[in-house]
Symmetry: C2
Subunit: 339 residues, 2 copies
């Protein structure tokens, strides 16, 4: 029901997704009338692979997480997450209010034992493929222990979905040397060196797009600034390129000829292909689509959800935390006692 | 002497600069032999508008600021800054070691009364012109009072150089609402509201390139991550665009035809045109060129220095801090006493 365009985007995207993914079924959760009307408009109907599960309320895009949690117990968001909890669904995808989605998911599903806080993770394009970055805004004040948990979660996600063995993890800093950064980052680096991950060391902002490491970890404040700054820059550059090709009849003609080149370029860097951020660290899979997502973007968020469900990301994180983090934490606790 | 290419870049850039700016004279500071050899190679010589001032040492690019300060009292960097202090030069431009330049400039010139810490400021391109952003890495832990000082300095720089009356200032945050961000940012917003500047409120990463405000202030850690992330993304996009145009003989031919369009696009977003970061808050003008700057980039850093000297940026900041900040600070102190 959520996002800037509601069912007009989510329903057509689901229909396209069902066409391309014969092994996945979808449950539409929300106001039945609105969903049925949209299905009808798309000349589609419910069936064995597509059903409607009713919810009588919708969380507004500007509603506070507290209000959503307290007052909208039958919201489409809450009911969809309940389906994940009960096992009726393997993943939940929403284009709705991020804060409310995170709060509801955390309240209903709970975090994985050993994970104190969920993080928002996302795949970003890089010169060498893709970089997984987290946290992108769920936590504005992180301790070094949180960053270690993010690192383990990010590495597990990349192993599971991208089939990378021992993915490298970098800590976002303002220089590659150990002496760089503020105290929190320096402490995090020390702890990450001892953590059960393939720690590369510090990385800088440009390493995200160079693809220096498979996973970049950072505090949610910094991650969010880096992500939004990237969005702004990409839009500005695209705008400038468009303007230059629209300058005269001759450049417009050139643009026409260059269309296959320009659209291949656009496709490669299309943010819609990278839509679908994961709320990582929960006992279930919840994917947040960009609120402004169009049909194509929402389709990619659905793909992300299906991939993570098929790879059993949440279970893998739980298993890894249980087997490796307990040992690591008792190790660091013993070190702390010795000091 | 500094930067990745030393005098091979700085000397030709200076010669080009002298050709284009008849009202500015240049002093080359460094090892006389190296400077003379480079002038000779450029078929140029010293004269009334260009002289050499000897310095017997060079700060290495990876030298610690402490070592540079303590052991290299006759470095080109130190001597050039001494010239600014003595009034023999109106500004210093260096492509050398950033940390050493900042430490030396701070030690020799001292900060402007009322400014606790200098900040690194830079103009960035935006959809509406240019955005001045600071701090870009001089301070990894800033208090709200520091951010207010940065705001006043950034606004004064933009007024002086870009002739903008009452430039708008935004605080970099992860949402535009007051409730967003970590505690430090929330406190900064409260203080900025009362400061003698035209405070717009919170801005997000994408606002830097949208041009929502004239000045964006942030902690140096965040600013540096945003800047480096932008550099990485711009390089990746340029790389992808190049690859797509090199894919076949047909796309190469297209690129040839599209060259005027592509080079106008490149020129508009050319980071070399934005080379030259200002070490703001010192009792004198010091400009840091990117270490990897080529001749064109270094030329732009020289221009930035000349503009700031001609506009009297350092004096204007000193005057503004004296007239407005004293009142503001006694005001906030009075408020603090009332609590």
């Amino acid at each position: 029901m959520g996002g800037d365009h509601g069912t007009h985007v989510t329903v057509p995207a689901v229909l396209r997704f069902l066409d391309h993914h014969a092994d996945v079924n979808v449950v539409l959760v929300g106001l039945p009338d609105a969903l049925e009307a949209e299905l009808k408009a798309c000349k589609a109907e419910v069936g064995p692979r597509l059903r409607i599960h009713p919810a009588s309320e919708v969380v507004l895009m500007d509603e506070s997480p507290q209000s959503a949690l307290k007052n909208k117990k039958d919201s489409s968001m809450r009911v969809a997450i309940n389906l994940v909890k009960s096992g009726e669904a393997h993943a939940c995808v929403s284009a709705g209010n991020t804060g409310a989605l995170m709060a509801t998911a955390r309240f209903v599903l709970k975090t994985i034992p050993g994970i104190e806080r969920p993080a928002i993770a996302k795949m970003l394009p890089s010169l060498r493929g893709e970089t997984c970055m987290l946290d992108l805004g769920a936590n504005v004040d992180c301790t070094p222990a949180h960053l270690v948990q993010f690192a383990v979660m990010g590495a597990t996600l990349v192993s599971a979905v991208k089939h990378v063995d021992a993915p490298t993890v970098g800590l976002l800093n303002i220089g590659s040397e150990d002496i760089k950064g503020n105290e929190a980052v320096k402490e995090s680096a020390e702890l990450l060196k001892k953590a059960p991950i393939n720690f590369h060391g510090n990385v800088e902002g440009d390493d995200i797009y160079k693809g220096t490491v498979d996973v970049v970890v950072c505090d949610g404040f910094i991650g969010n600034v880096a992500l939004k700054t990237s969005e702004g820059l990409a839009k500005m550059l695209a705008g400038f390129l468009r303007e230059e090709f629209k300058r005269s009849w001759w450049t417009k003609l050139l643009a026409l000829f260059a269309l296959p080149v320009l659209s291949r370029f656009k496709k490669r860097t299309d943010p819609r292909r990278f839509n679908g951020a994961t709320l990582l660290g929960l006992r279930g899979i919840v994917i947040k689509s960009h609120g402004g997502a169009d049909e194509t973007a929402f389709y990619w968020a659905l793909r992300q959800a299906a991939e993570e469900a098929q790879a059993g990301v949440a279970q893998r994180i739980a298993a890894r935390v249980q087997s490796q983090m307990a040992e690591f934490e008792s190790g660091t606790a013993a070190v702390a006692e010795n000091i």
